[in-house]
Amino acid sequence: MDANTQSSNAHLTTPTRLTGAEILWATLVGEGVTTVFGYPGGAILPVYDALRKFPIHHVLVRHEQGASHMADGYARASGKVGVAIATSGPGATNLITGIATAMLDSIPMVCITGNVSSKILGTDAFQEVDITGITLPVTKHNFLVTHPEDIAAAVRSAFQIAQSGRPGPVLVDITKDAQQATAVFDFEGAKPKPYRPHPMLCVEDSSIAEAAELIRNAKRPIILAGHGVMQSNAMEQVRALAERSQTPVALTLLGLGAFPASHPLNMGMMGMHGEAWVNHAIQEADLLIACGMRFDDRVTGSLSTYAPKSKKIHIEVDPSEVNKNVKVDVALIGDLREVLEQLLPRIGGRDGAAWLKTIDASKGAVAVRDIKNLPDSGHLYAAHVMHDLWRITGGNAIVVTDVGQHQMWEAQYFHHEHPRTLVTSGGLGTMGFALPAAIGAKFACPDKEVWVVAGDGGFQMTAAELATIVQEKIKINIAVINNGFLGMVRQWQEFFYDKNYEATPMVSPDFVKLADAHGIAGAAVRTRAELAAAVEEARSAPGAYLLNFIVEKEDSVYPMIPAGSALHEMIRRPGKNPLVESANDE
């Protein structure tokens, strides 16, 4: 520990007079922050000037959207609060896509922005925007701070709000004069009031009993597990519920990893691109036990035809989500883990064999997806890439995906065994998320193997962050799934717009050369035969590595439930598709 570290830690115990900028860093240190992602500018310069006195590593991004995605990826991979910093005006507005991404997926994040001096607020001064006004609908809360003595309390509250209840992003906007002026820093004195749980949380004993009764009597129950399982750290409890009641588990996209993929009760992903038999089972179920998921439209399809035969138990921390999309029979509104702890003692052994057998039978002759044994037709499909990535990494890597076809193929063919190993933008569906979020994830878990999986479209949205990888000397592997199209949009055009491929064919640079220009090694992969060796080469390379997978141009993600259709009305894999895995699909 150097002298600077010691002096900054001393601030935490003894009230000291500091500048607002120093107070900000000292508070972040006090909150346990070690890494921040940011980009300097005029209105945040005093903060940057004070940085060298504090034991915090600052990652210089190439665009502020990268900073907010990195903070997000850091939070998703670690479960801790991610921190992004930007200047006023365009710096602040560039953060917004990343903030909205975090909001929709309930990610704990704190964004710090500088603003013009409080005396000229609201005058359209140079690089001034009303960032607290702009971010109001996409933050859980935000603060405008104009006095140095308010900084510590605002930042500490921000950390509390970001992590409590249903997590989310919080923005703290600090005027330049507040950064420059001095105040007494009292870390303990700035402690926020104890967290006040949402007053409408409600877990009544009678509801617990009712839920237990429904589970006991159910003939065809399914657990629907979502992101909340990880947010609440309820993996064990969900597993106990599933095992004790012999109930199969279907996962949302953000729930992948919450329940081991290899577990015999794991059915895999539900919804728009879930396997047909998973969605059929949901439609046939007589009881759905929703754990930390919000019946998103990508999961339910048409609400009027959704799971018509089932009773529904909803365990959810946000009361505004209950009965929003789907009417439920029993609502247990509270922290998932706490609710399950109350519920589990009432769950006895159940014989689920008949229902599990029915589900098994509906999978068809080839129940286990094993595309590696399919004959090599010479074509390279994205599914092969995902499957081999999973096989070669042993499923132990953190995979950070972008948004689109590759994201769904990843969800289908990379079998996530552990929580927080899939980092993906679910709710907002933000293209350009993967590369910066992966940088954040790598800083959160430096000892983990991190893979970016991105399409050729999304990758180019934030490709500038390649330089950040090089400047920070971090090891990240990048798989670009390059089909020369904005693939998912093309797929919709194929299915719903008479193959009118308007604005979806995309000319891209040579990604290997692009990587090379940054000092990142790479290779192009065009056949299945080259795949495994290329992945191994990337993994063993000392630095970051980019693989440009030139895949089949007009491949589609199957099965697919068209938006707004019933869950059982899906578009199935065409028979001639070489990736058909199930006899039922033929």
Binding site: T132, G133, L136, P137, K140, H141, L144, I161, R166, H198, P199, M200, D318, P319, S320, V322, N323, K324
Partner: protein, 190 residues
């Protein structure tokens, strides 16, 4: 249906925007919104009236609670409550036609709070229908209505506070002596 929410909010800049923005996002028009100080130091009290589906009440209340600046929300729904509105009405009136207006003001239990040779101002408190009744008959008079200023609705539940939160805050009110109010509610409905 018409929803009436009573919200205790922190008395800080921007809180009104946060509350209003929630309704804006749901594309719900706010029919009336009144804000003022409450019995709690540092907390303002809002009465928000909005038209929305019956089921929306739960979600709006739950969403209001998600705002960090909101401390307590009550969905009055059909519960027994007293609702009042204040109106200031300026009418063009000369010494010749004043007396008719004085008569109306008397019947409606309103008050004259300003009088000049060309105009007078009426202050009236009551339920919405009563205020609208007065405005309607004033329109039928010779004198012209020059200005109308209405506060929007203020609502308070009858009887002792039942809210768990308010009790915990130690802010439970005394029971209202509501007989007079109840009588007034039904009195003089034109």
């Amino acid at each position: 249906m018409l929803h009436t929410f009573v919200a205790y909010v922190e008395d800080l800049p921007g809180v009104l925007t946060r509350v209003a923005s929630l309704f804006r996002r749901l594309n719900i028009n706010i029919i009336s919104l009144t804000v003022g100080r409450s019995e709690r130091v540092g907390l303002s009290r809002m009465t928000i009236v909005a038209e929305s589906s019956t089921e929306a009440g739960h979600r709006i209340r739950a969403s209001l609670y998600k705002l960090e600046s909101v401390v307590h929300v009550d969905d009055i729904a059909q519960a027994p409550a007293v609702t009042r509105e204040l109106a200031l009405i300026k009418v063009a009136a000369t010494p010749k036609n004043r007396s008719q207006i004085f008569e109306l003001v008397e019947i409606f239990r309103a008050r004259i709070v300003d009088l000049t040779s060309e105009s007078l101002m009426i202050e009236m408190t009551g339920v919405e229908s009563k205020i609208e009744g007065l405005i309607e008959v004033l329109r039928e008079q010779d004198g012209r209505i020059l200005e109308i200023c209405r506060s929007g609705k203020m609502t308070m539940r009858r009887g002792q506070h039942t809210s768990r939160v308010l009790r915990a805050m130690g802010a439970a009110g005394e029971p209202e002596t509501d007989t007079a109010e109840a009588l007034e509610d039904t009195a003089v409905e034109p």
